[in-house]
Amino acid sequence: MASVTGESRYRDSAVGRFLAGFASTLKLMARNKVGFAGFLVVVTIVLVTFVGPIFVPLDETVRVSQIYKTPSLSYPLGTDSEGKGVLSQIIHGGRPILTIGYLAAVISTTIAVTLGSLGAFVGGRVDTGFTWLADMVLTIPQLPLLAVLAGVLSLNNKFAVAGLIGALFWPTLMRATRAQVLSLKERDYVESARALDLGTPHIVFREIAPNMAGYIAINFTLAVTTSMYAVVGLTLLGLVPLSENNWGVMLNLAWTRGAVFSKDSIWYIMAPIAAIALHQFGLVAMNRSLTEVFDPRLRRGA
């Protein structure tokens, strides 16, 4: 491969090695055009929502004469019911939602991978117990439970919301991880590592984990989409009292203030939907590239 010579040049420093690895990963991602486009969309949205607010101030001036304007040069996404620019609200409104979404995905992926691989590895009662727990959590209607929890505890802390969502959305990935580890455990190279008595840590981290990395990465992006689904749903219902302005709150306001039934409000309603949908589609598309990056068999064929 062309990137091998480039890599050897930087091999002396850890940073150089990391950069080289990053560059070759990007190159691999670019092989799948749809996947790379998805990757770019996700990166752009994350950058705009996390860095954008520094450069673009939140428009908070009420302009009675400018209500529900269609896009123009001064208001690229039109205005809302109080004449405030929609674009600045979109730029400022992504951070809380994305933070919770990604944080919850980290939590649920961690729980899933830990319980799944532990269960498959240890087996016996531990495995049965974890599987039972997963089956049980899977049958709980998650959204109503989150809504009830939001009604009993007042959830105004981002981390609490992310924690709750993460604690509910792990079972599918856990079962999948378990199945994966169960089958990897039986592979020849793991058997031979065991025969060579290389030790459990070596087997887990050098033989099994690398084979799981891609799988986990792909499922992490899917976990982000499900967590976003939950956060936006809860804020849309007005059950998570996030004081900041965000995409879910925008939709909630459109609904509760009746803006949805006015034909002119279309830009205000479609803007947060488009932002959420773009991010979700970006993640799903990005998976195509991720599959190729992590599966060398697909790579050689391309």
Partner: protein
């Protein structure tokens, strides 16, 4: 969103090992029952219901500053009621004996649940929660049930066509549609339907479609009633169908494709059986198993999602009542409705699993899940 779910079936397959049955003797009969699929499945369902009931009890009753305490404190400070009578009122509302030790309260709460006593509503004074639940439950069951049946049968049918005509233009269009639809959350689909079909294009009258029935229509077995019920449920049903159909299309496409390569299909073709018979009795019956395992997950998702969908369309089912009770802090209703939704999901899951074990004899014979 369909990615991780696809592996559920594989997971099950891995666990499918057959246990030889031993006969004779009362103990063996007992062992056989304990090992039977139905028995294990029932125990699992009961434990889940029990855990959820306990969780809600401790959440509502024991949370410091939780609903019961807040209710008593509110009566004392706002209405100048003595602490004792406030406690009594709270006790009757939540159908709890607040002076008893916690474990006794807990046992009594469970006893009440078994008898179907869910307490009384705080907002509509004196109305038993069970009555509220019973009047709204049919609408949710009706809309979700018909939506799942429609989307499963249409999805599986389309998936089969896609596999038979793979790599054709139709296959590409349907595959892309399927993955797109399954990436959009159902409530976003709902918002889009309201905003575009209802408000922008004015194809349907969103406000007239609210509620579960038009005013003046009496429930009965006649065309007016059924037509009106369908009219009001049509948008929620459409939303649930769009939200779930993609998963089934894609799973069915994959499983049909692998079934088509099976030896028994080749043999059936060699025996000169008719194409149609092979497609239904040999390919379809076996290929439909993997999508069927997704059904239990979809049931929980759709039931849970009904909270948002019914709120969006103001469709008066359980999700709508749950939303209102959370808004009004009507804890007994909230608790009751939540428990019923959970129980319904667990029951539906049980039913789906039992049906699955009918369709796939390996599960039953194996005696393990």
């Amino acid at each position: 969103m369909y990615g991780p779910r696809l592996l559920v079936g594989k997971d099950r397959e891995l666990a499918r090992t057959s246990v030889p049955a031993t006969g004779g003797g009362a103990l063996d009969v007992f062992r056989k029952v304990a090992r039977s699929y139905l028995f294990r499945r029932l125990i699992k369902a009961l434990v889940t219901v029990f855990v959820m009931a306990s969780l809600t009890f401790f959440l509502i009753r024991l949370m410091p500053g939780g609903p019961v305490e807040a209710y008593i404190a509110n009566l004392v400070t706002q209405y100048n009621v003595s602490h004792q009578s406030a406690t009594q009122q709270a006790a009757s509302l939540f159908s709890l004996d607040l002076d008893a030790p916690v474990y006794q309260q807990y046992l009594e709460y469970l006893g009440n649940l078994v008898r179907g006593d869910l307490g009384e509503s705080l907002v509509s004074r004196g109305v038993p929660v069970s009555k509220i639940v019973l009047s709204y439950l049919p609408w949710t069951l009706f809309s979700i049930g018909s939506a799942l049946i429609i989307s499963f049968s249409v999805g599986v049918f389309l998936g089969m066509i896609m596999a038979y005509k793979r790599e054709s233009k139709l296959d590409h269009v349907l595959t892309n549609l399927g993955s797109m639809v399954s990436a959009i959350p159902d409530y976003i689909m709902g918002i889009l339907i309201v905003v575009w079909i209802g408000v922008q294009w004015e194809l349907v009258d969103i406000t007239a479609m609210r509620g579960s029935l038009s005013p003046g229509i009496q429930p009965g077995f006649n065309l007016t009633f059924i037509g009106d019920a369908l009219y009001h449920a049509s948008l929620p049903i459409l939303t649930y169908v769009l939200g779930t159909i993609g998963v089934w299309m894609l799973t069915m496409r994959g499983s049909t494709e692998s079934t088509l390569g099976e030896d028994y299909v080749t043999v059936a073709k060699a025996r000169g059986l008719k194409e149609r018979r092979i497609a239904t009795a040999y390919v379809g019956r076996n290929a439909a198993l993997p999508p069927f395992t997704q059904l239990s997950i979809s049931i929980a998702l759709v039931f849970g999602g009904s909270l948002l969908i019914e709120w969006l369309y103001v469709y008066e089912g359980l999700g709508y009542v749950l939303y209102n009770s959370i808004q009004q802090r009507d804890y007994p209703v909230m608790q009751g409705v939540f428990l019923i939704i959970t129980t319904m999901v667990i029951l539906a899951n049980l039913l789906a699993d039992l049906l699955y074990s009918r369709l796939d004899p390996r599960i039953r014979v194996g005696g393990r899940d």
